[in-house]
Symmetry: C2
Subunit: 300 residues, 2 copies
């Protein structure tokens, strides 16, 4: 399972029961929280997200609608007796804020909170099964997008063929990694003859808050699902530019240039109660676009 | 109109769609916000509280469930173009936190935010029509209760009598203040003969988070409505004591000793889904007790 669940899809001012930015990415048994606007812990409870499975939190930037809910979530995790490590990735300034907030409350967290300051593009998390990287976007203050990528998955053993060629079970792990097998008699069994390719690895890019920035299409090239903000409809392109935000058409253009499969749009301005025009405008440029709706999980 | 609207009645961990502490006190054309847990700005929108009428915010203490929503509310007020002064009363440490949070976002508020550090008991706001004072409670960290008092209201002119006694209109204001009138002929018209007493001034006390503390009954003596926390039912008195919280019976005992008209109880632990037992236990000691229910306005 690889999917993203939307917890908040609104821009700075909460409106129409839409919440500020927060998303949970599920990748098999891992949950990644991306951004954590005010009320995220309530949204996590509402949509029955398992807090204990969150080990990594990524904060795109230090505008409040992307992190004001973080300290509440962290504090609650502490009250619930969490002991597992929690890794937090954000611009350096956030560490001082959290430190002060814990100090004034005379609170010591019962779990290790490990802060990773974001200061350059690159890999943040690298495990055998997945990686997370960050890239710069263009916003009024330092702002980071994130890409979560599955690693290439091992090939699957063709159970009939390995028996037929009498390959010992001890060699199966190396077969999964793509190695050929040489029999005692010196015969070479090509890997493709005894294994089946696994599903190709998939990837999700979260482009945070940003102006239209063509380099984002390069950086997110070929991801399966791209989330791009659309604070405004296309008619407000000038305002979007002035406020370091993007429009429907701009987000769809990035998706098109990046050659992604699917575009999710969100971070809607409180100006708009009805969101149909967002979907329609984006789909004119990039048909496979969906609105990021709170409570919905989109498959990556 | 003098009343208190409950925006949040739960203790630290949000649960059962109950929110952390926040209350709005309405006194004629003034709104006072007391505490501001996470999500308060959403609750303010939900219950159609007019943000622009809030000029004073009082924060009892720096546990997150009493202030994590403050920075979001303040930031939103700024985004909405507020220009009026906002007075904030809280333990000193909060000022640094807000300063840092505005700095990292490169945000300058468009209105004056005037911070008043709480460091001793006494009057915080004093106007001809009302006053607000703070008093210490006994909690794990410095914690303040607040009392909002109407000032004594001027007496009302008895329109028939003032004409009958030929008192000039220029003297009416002094009559309202209780002065007697002396006619040109030297006759003394006692004030009570030409004026009617106004309604007695009323008062509301918010006792924040606290252990059972008898001095609170002294400090809140004779207020009309007393809000006292009841984190736990009476059977958990030991736990309440250990965690610097109070039980139903303890809150009701304070109300009884203080001789108040009405008791409101809240700050319920997330242990409890159903709140009936809170009401029942408190009423056994102090019959005129009500649960502080979110969205309900209780008349003072």
């Amino acid at each position: 399972m690889f999917g993203v669940t939307i917890l908040g899809n609104n821009s700075a001012l909460p409106a129409y029961d839409r919440h500020p930015t927060a998303q949970v990415v599920t990748l098999n048994d891992q949950l990644f929280l991306i951004d954590c606007g005010e009320g995220t812990q309530m949204q996590i409870a509402r949509y029955r997200i398992k807090r204990s499975k969150i080990h990594h939190i990524f904060i795109s930037h230090l505008h409040g609608d992307h992190y004001f809910g973080l300290i509440g979530l962290i504090t609650s995790m502490g009250l619930l007796g969490r002991e597992q490590e929690l890794h937090l990735y954000a611009t350096a300034g956030l560490q001082d804020i959290i430190k002060l907030q814990l100090e004034v409350a005379a609170t010591t967290l019962p779990f290790p909170l490990i802060f990773h300051p974001l200061d350059k593009e690159g890999i943040l998390v690298d495990t055998p099964k997945f990686s997370v990287e960050c890239f710069s976007t263009e916003h009024r203050i330092a702002c980071w997008g994130f890409i979560i990528r599955e690693k290439k998955k091992p090939r699957k053993i063709d159970k009939e063929r390995v028996v037929q060629y009498e390959i010992p079970a001890a060699f199966y792990e190396r077969l999964k990694d793509g190695e050929d097998y040489e029999t005692k008699g010196g015969e070479l069994i090509k890997n493709e003859m005894v294994t089946i390719p696994n599903k190709p690895p998939r990837s999700y890019a979260f482009c945070a808050d940003t102006r239209y920035l063509e380099s984002i299409a390069e950086k997110t090239k070929g991801v399966n699902v791209l989330y791009h903000e659309t604070t405004y409809l296309k008619e407000l392109e000038e305002r979007a530019q002035a406020r370091f935000h993007a429009t429907t058409v701009q987000a769809a253009t990035i998706a098109l240039k990046a050659g992604v499969e699917r575009l999710l749009i969100g971070h809607f301005s409180s100006k708009y109660e009805n969101l149909d025009a967002f979907k329609n405008e984006a789909r004119e440029v990039f048909p496979n676009t969906d609105l990021a709706i709170e409570g919905v999980t989109y498959r990556v």
